[in-house]
Assembly symmetry: C2
Homo-oligomer: 510 residues x 2
């Protein structure tokens, strides 16, 4: 028994160690495989730090630079970041903060030099208190916090170090000079490493992130609509779970993207990558697209919410609208995919191409709705739907513009001017015939969720228009390639015109 | 003309300067007034930095500590943060990183000591490369990045500094000792300042942030419903703009709160504030509440979306549901406000108290819906609504639990088993009577948006249940005070029970 125990113990220990090591290796492998640039970046940092340490380790180099070499090491470790933009941003903050602090410290030193030692100590103490308090307060300003927080911290640190040291060291100037050279060498290595050797660009990351967000939304919508209409035909329960997870994961990435987008755009603004082309990198336009996509994403959340509503629409009613709804959703998906494709390849998308099949899908849905007028439609349906869509689009735009620019005080006026006559009469008219419609009312109760579903879907189309608009703007700002007519593409130029006409005709009605 | 110009120039310059100064002062005043703790924190930093500088400036102190005093200054500037939790977190990261790096560096030094100078240089170079690469890679692990990013950076920095210096300096041990003392003094000042002199607590911030988010959502809902039902009665256009802005601002703060919540909770986990009471600060529970509130917030976004739908419901139809909807919304608002109040005062809320008037409001809405059966209701309405609500609540919970724990594979099965008979007949039955219902169908078309609005409102009630649940859990975890019966409070204990009965009865039906 004892021998067995002794035998067993090492083997279980070995097994456990193996298990832990195995899972650790798995994790390391996963982190590396998810983004191989991480491995390259780690090697770059290792190489840079070693290179800069040679200043200290190699005798001839050390004779040249001396103790100050430590500042080069510090600069490389602190400043070298994953992307070029982040490195430049941090480097600039550090450099500018240090320079400003040094200048100010020398100015104070110059003023205090004339006086006695006690006065100098008091003067230095007071200036440290003053600068310490004011710079800390400065860091609470939103703009400073967002862009220059690190720079202000470095400023305060350097100012204190120089002011305090200068009290004890006589030749501060020489010290400062030596350190500045070293910081310069460190910065040089950082710039070389981040810009020229396997560079990672924040702009590129932002670009790819935007593309994958659009694709994610497209997948979400498709999965939503498929789940809604096909859930009763499904046998396997697991499929639903996977699909639900997909929907959730895909739109969640969009909803939570705000801070990532803004950081990437901020870093991208430091990257000199495209400046030799016609433009600066349009980081802010990507941020705008991000916020339109979030706006769109909230619509997807609502659509997904209606999957869980408990008043189930009978299958027969669903079947009536299944094909047009799936068609519309697949057109929205296709449009999003095309938009993603056009951004990925940096070429303009054809707006006519995008809206034409969408309009067709809306028409189909309209026809389906008309075929069941008791469920949804008003009397003058033939003219209503395009108008309704034009209005939906324009209101969604107003709504968006209102919130993102807080101007636009006139656009809402038109809404309130709607004619109000004849409705009270209709209300009275309906009440007596209550019992007569007792059976038919069954259908309306169960049509309620599908009404919500359809209106959310149409709302998504209206929001899609905003997305298209911002992506077109991106194409303009970022000088995308011209749209090329593919072989599999049918172009209908008149279509766009007709939407404009609808908008105009509506305006004249108002 | 010339004299006039000369006269005018200084005056405009003065005016401009005055204007710039004025706006600057205004900004400074605003930043300080928004949160007066900022001013206190700035003064605290100024004071600490000055105090620590005295080590350098005062002769007797300097004799004791020498050049190393600079490390105390550095520690104070870098570590002292706005809240106690952030300071402790950063301080721990810095301290632990430094200690670990020093130990490792001395180990390597111990190994390399035996050999010749050239071998030592190669050994140091290789170890720097190895540690540089591996720590940088380590920073890409999500858990490390979230909690220990700064510590790993400090580790790398310190390791390099010590390894490199030890090559040139003989008595590294003495150097390290001196610096450690200074870092200790710096840390001591930071701890004193952040924990004992006007401390700011991340936990407190998170707590207040959560309360204000709940209140913001309450205001949003109220504003939404008021805007929806009263917009045609309003005269002044500006009112709408303000109200729309309010809705937007209030729920926007909730939707974008994820990263703030997580940072605050992370810092709060470092605060020793409540540990002497029965519990650790339940930061993670606040994060959970934050995510439930965001889930609730998406519902408010959808509700607000229906304000802009272009198919306007006639005033007569709206009037039918105005009172019950406003009643329900005001009950939801009141519940949220009570929840906010209970969290603010750290006392349990009475769930019976919360659900009782809500149930009443739902009943009222139900009655209103029943009074217009042609618009919304199925035949067996009397039994349907409570069941529907119970199901809504349970599905919303399922949905939530599914996404936040990714378990729960069985709950959806019940939904698919719904009976499907008799519906195809109804579909056929309706078609021939198309022309007959031409006028009445007008009403259904215009009831579509109000159907969506009502169902979204009811969905919100279901989501409110999740919020209540998480807040009750918070009450348990954080040892809130017991709920006290106020004078203005009517308690109905049976109410809660009836909801449970509904849930059970529904389960037995399935």
């Amino acid at each position: 028994m004892t021998t067995e125990f002794v035998k067993q113990k090492p083997s279980t220990f070995m097994q456990k160690t193996k298990g832990v090591l195995g899972s650790l290796c798995g994790k390391i492998w996963k982190v590396g495989r998810d983004d191989p640039r991480r491995v390259i970046h780690a090697l770059k940092v290792g190489f840079s730090v070693t290179a800069v340490s040679l200043l200290y380790l190699m005798e001839p180099l050390f004779k040249g630079v001396g103790e100050n070499a430590i500042w080069a090491v510090m600069t490389v470790v602190v400043v070298l970041e994953f992307t070029a933009g982040a490195t430049l941003c941090k480097g600039f903050n550090r450099g500018f903060g240090t320079m400003l602090a040094a200048s100010l410290a020398f100015l104070f030193e110059f003023i205090a030099r004339e006086y006695g030692k006690v006065f100098r100590a008091i003067f230095i103490g007071a200036s440290i208190f003053l600068i310490g308090t004011s710079t800390t307060f400065l860091r609470f300003f939103p703009k400073v916090k967002k862009n220059y927080d690190y720079g202000v911290l470095v400023f305060l640190l350097t100012f204190n170090l120089i002011t305090v040291s200068s009290y004890r060291v006589d030749d501060v100037m020489k010290l400062a000079k030596g350190r500045t050279y070293m910081i310069g060498i460190g910065s040089g290595i950082c710039i070389l490493m981040s810009l020229f050797i396997f560079p990672n660009w924040s702009g590129e990351d932002l670009h790819n992130h935007t593309v994958s967000k659009i694709e994610g939304l497209a997948k979400s919508i498709e999965a939503c609509v498929t789940t809604y209409f096909c859930e009763e035909e499904r046998d396997v329960e697991r499929d639903e779970m996977i699909s639900e997870d997909q929907i959730y994961e895909n739109y969640k990435a969009v909803l939570d993207s705000k801070s990532t987008d803004e950081t990437l755009a901020h870093h991208a603004s430091w990257e000199p990558r495209y400046t030799w082309q016609c433009h600066k990198f349009p980081g802010q336009q990507y941020v705008k697209i991000g916020s339109v996509l979030r706006h769109f994403g909230y619509g997807v959340v609502a659509l997904r919410g209606s999957l869980q509503t408990e008043i189930r629409t009978p299958r027969s009613v669903k079947l009536l609208f299944k094909d047009p709804c799936i068609h519309l959703a697949s057109e929205v998906t296709k449009s999003l995919m095309e938009l993603a494709y056009s951004i990925r390849n940096r070429q303009h998308c054809s707006p006519e191409l995008l809206t034409e099949p969408l309009q067709q899908a809306l028409q189909d849905l309209d026809v389906a709705l008309k075929s069941q007028p008791r469920l949804f439609l008003g009397p003058n349906t033939a003219q209503n739907t395009p108008k309704m869509l034009a209005m939906l689009t324009s209101t969604a735009r107003q709504k968006y513009e209102h919130h993102f620019s807080s101007i636009n005080t006139e656009s809402h006026t038109s809404i309130n001017k709607k004619p109000k006559g004849g409705q009270d009469g209709a209300g009275k008219f309906l009440r007596p015939s209550l019992s007569k419609f007792a059976i038919t009312s069954l259908e309306f109760s169960e049509a309620l969720p599908i009404a919500a579903f359809v209106s959310l879907l149409v709302e998504l189309v209206a929001r899609l228009d905003l997305v298209i608009e911002e992506i077109e703007e991106l194409g303009r700002v970022a000088c995308f390639k011209e749209f090329k007519h593919g072989d599999d593409v049918i172009l209908d130029v008149d279509r766009r015109k007709s939407t404009e006409i609808n908008l105009t005709s509506f305006a004249s009605v108002e």
